[in-house]
Amino acid sequence: MMFFDRIWSFFEIVFHLASDPVNLAILFGSVILGIIFGAMPGLTSTLGVALLTALTYGMDTALAMVCLLSIYVGGTYGGSYAAILINIPGTAAAAATALDGYPLACKGEGGRAIGLTTTASAIGTAFSIIFIVSISPLISYFALQFTSFEFFLLAFFGILISGTLTSPDLVIKGWLSGFLGLFLACVGRDMLQFYPRFTFGISELESGVEVVPVLIGAFGIPQIIQVLKDRFQIGETQKLQRILPEIGTIIRNIPAIIRSALIGVGIGAVPGIGEDIAGWVSYGTAKNTSKHPETFGKGELQGVLASETANNACVGGAQIPLLNLGIPGSPPAAMLLGALMLHGVTPGPMITFEHPTFIMEVAAILLLASMAMWVSGMLLAKQVVKVLQIPTQIFMPIIGVLCIIGSYSLGLNIFNLYLMLPVGIVAYFLTEMGYPIAPLVIGVILGPMADENLRRALMVSQGSFMPVFTRPVSLILFIIIIWTIVSQFQFYRKFKTKMADLILRRKTCEAIFDEEIGNKK
């Protein structure tokens, strides 16, 4: 009964939101802006959400969420345009789409591919909503049983797993990046005793490092430097034919779409890893399970469907830990967390008590955003593709100005700019040296949670770490953390191989022994 009540209230919220023309105008405007952001190589949905956060400062929370979630959905989908038409993914999330999307465009099926990605992306987002609506109350219920030890371990796990999975080079670098983020979170007066830490007498640092300028700096500045340093040029755009929704193809591929959506939601729900990993994992799974894996990379529709469904399903998946635990599931979700805090909403287990309809509202906005994305994709794709002709040297400086005014306007503080720029420059050098940026950002966001909960937990246990081993959830989280760390070291891999060899040898010996006994008999 309660489930049907939730579904009913969900549709009530959908109709309520859709009946307001202002909401609809913002919804379509933000989705189109998101598609443009996603389509332009060098701009990402994270940057889009970051820059739009400044504009939503004066809006009420619901309208701000319409704006930010729409740009997130549009941005994730928009990356497929550049991937299909110029073989350069507009966002990292669309990297896997380029493998089969571009060969399709070369065959003269670019319109078909974009039609399919549009429908698949809309289905992916809509599918993830089912999980937000159905799983959220369960997670919130469990999270309410969490004590400070669990929250500390959860925050620590979020940073570790994000560092492990997003690192393009050595895993150590991902972890280091996460700990650098934790260090930035230490700056300012600590929340338990108000002792100034790493403030160097600068009064602006006493309240701590502002999250949004750090996020804008960490994602925006390295992007601008990299694109202009490498003289990034947009290649020749393939011709775009009529765009059709391809309902028939979609129906034929329903099992593959559901599998990809599940992968997307699952990966989205893991803290700190985003749409790009969802796209790759889903693409890899589609290839491995296909009867004709040799066709992948040569214009296979299933490949395009798999990556696009998964990366958009990841958007919804990322909202699950964000809303219920206060842990962002992806970098744009980290940006959303910053925006929510600005609007006075603190995501976490208490959200269902403090804002009872908030999770439903987010799900409703995602549904509307996926519909708006589908309509915009079908009707405006040809016009949006024209943005691919704008040289990067023109729009990157404009993004620079937006980063600056965006960081300043949140708090009307010039010190935010003084902070944003060095963070951006350091982030650029870290990126160049193979350090991922997502764990740093997750570290800045989860740092206060980890710090406060660690000390609070030890205060309750009078300095004893025993509750980690006596509380089941803590113990599970502790084991997962240890396994995440240990599994990255060579000695563990060697040990695993040795054990596997040993078991195999034993099995072989047993089989030979059985055979010999059988022969004797």
Binding site: F183, L192, Y195, I394, L417, D451, L454
Partner: protein, 254 residues
């Protein structure tokens, strides 16, 4: 990102920096109250504000050391010696002068001059126009020789402004002329545009790009600025010549 072999060599240095940074965090954290009283509260180690920074510092130090060890195992002492030799040789100067590095310097100079020098002292619209006109023209022309010349001109202007503010000239000029910083910035923008024009006037393709750069550099702040100022009611970081003129028009009682 760098290539893998270069990355490993760089890892030795970045790992060492991380290791030292970790030590610095620990050294700072040790100074925080651990067992003594702070604000009337007697501390115990597990509620001390030093606990978390100590943990973070130790982890950064350990991971930094681990990174150095991993990289060193792959690179080896011989290669490391070669890298150090390269770092102290004249080749490093050549590396620092490569076009891609100069592009990075140009972006850094543009951002630093805007954020740390201009934005808090000069009208937002004027410093944005300068930032955009210089940024777009330097990169849109896609010519490294031109970029260098424009960067030097921009640097000269920036040095002039640093001296101008350091010598506290605005205080002297203010009684004589209103918004002296803004007028000077306007003069610098015009001179930059004239200088750029003299560089590219003989190339028709660049003339077209120059026009586009100018149009975008002027229109963008006038599109973004009013949205923030009048729609979102965000006061500009510095409101000078242009903002006052815009306010006069906006609040004109016809």
């Amino acid at each position: 990102m760098m290539e893998k072999d270069k990355l490993r060599k760089a890892d030795i240095f970045s790992g060492s920096i991380m290791f030292l940074f970790g030590i610095w965090i620990i050294s700072q954290a040790i100074k925080m109250p651990m067992k003594d009283s702070w604000g009337g509260v007697q501390n115990v180690w597990f509620v001390s504000p030093a606990l978390f920074p100590l943990f973070v510092g130790t982890m950064i130090m350990l991971l930094g050391a681990l990174l150095v060890r991993t990289a060193f195992k792959e690179v080896g002492l011989k290669e490391l010696r070669a890298v150090i030799r390269w770092l102290i040789s004249s080749e490093i100067a050549l590396f620092l002068k490569t076009p891609s590095n100069i592009r990075v310097y140009a972006i850094t100079v543009l951002f630093f001059s805007l954020v740390y020098l201009n934005i808090s002292r000069i009208d937002f619209f004027l410093c944005s126009v300068l930032f955009l006109v210089a940024f777009i023209s330097m990169f849109y022309f896609d010519d490294d020789t031109l970029l260098k010349k424009m960067l030097y001109f921009y640097l000269a202007g920036t040095v002039f402004f640093i001296l101008y503010f350091a010598l506290k000239l605005p205080a002297i000029l203010k009684p004589i002329v209103a918004f002296p910083n803004d007028w000077l910035m306007l003069v610098f923008i015009i001179s930059y545009c004239i200088y750029t024009w003299t560089l590219i006037r003989s190339v028709p393709a660049l003339r077209k790009k120059y026009r586009t750069s100018l149009i975008l550099a002027v229109t963008t702040p006038f599109l973004i600025g009013p949205i923030f100022k009048y729609l979102l009611l965000v006061p500009m970081p510095t409101e000078g010549l242009i903002v006052v003129a815009m306010d006069t028009i906006r609040y004109w009682e016809f």
